[in-house]
């Protein structure tokens, strides 16, 4: 998986490419832990994210909890496969997914 970072003041965009699975979720967890300080507006761009499993959902949940305390978080360009997993698990209800 590739993670691209783009910061503008207190806004951060993380663009993920590839698979957010049990092998790669720790990478995202590390980036989130080191980059979120002072961020009030987090965008996760899933345009090139093909796949998500429960290990990825775990990181999304933790990140959403952090961002709820300090600002907002949204997911953009979520592909249908990834969206289906968010729907199956009910995660879609507390994540902000922009079309």
């Amino acid at each position: 998986m590739e993670i691209k970072k783009e910061q503008n003041g207190t806004a951060l965009i993380l663009s993920l490419a590839g698979r957010l699975d049990a092998m790669t979720a720790p990478e995202l967890e590390r980036v989130v832990k080191s980059e979120l300080s002072g961020i009030t507006d987090l965008t996760l761009d899933f345009a090139s994210l093909d796949y998500i499993a429960s290990a990825g959902l775990r990181v999304l949940l933790a990140t959403q909890k952090t961002m709820k305390k300090q600002g907002q978080m949204k997911l953009v360009h979520v592909n249908p496969d990834v969206k289906e997993v968010l729907e199956m698990t009910g995660f879609i209800q507390f994540l902000t997914v922009e079309e």
């Binding site: 049990a22 092998m23 796949y51 499993a53 199956m88 698990t89 507390f94």
Partner: protein
Amino acid sequence: MEKKEEIVLAADICNLSALNEWIDALVAGADISPRVQMKISLAVEEIFANIASYAYAPQKGDVTIIGTVTDVPAELELVFMDEGKPFDPLARDDPPTDAAMEERGIGGLGIFLVKESMDKVTYRYEQGKNILTICKRIAS
């Protein structure tokens, strides 16, 4: 036509990509939609990750996977076998998918995704082995 393959891997999450490649090769040639392929990938990962995390911990051990692809019915069957601690993943309740974020944990999410993605999931413990079988129709 029936295609049957077997692989033995150390139960270590590092082997997930090797397992994915093996599955890809197993179903290559079958008429299978990307959506179904994603669901197979998801179920395989969640089961393998569970075994890698819990079956033998803190020791190490192997997982044997037997995969069968059939034409009639157009179906993929995967049997996961390990000799770790007896554990029935189907015994626990499904996570509350309508719970508020604050109450959401991730416990049980993996096996829930397996059940949601597959057409049939069965577990048995036999001769010292955890045997989990999943089936998915693959006709497009």
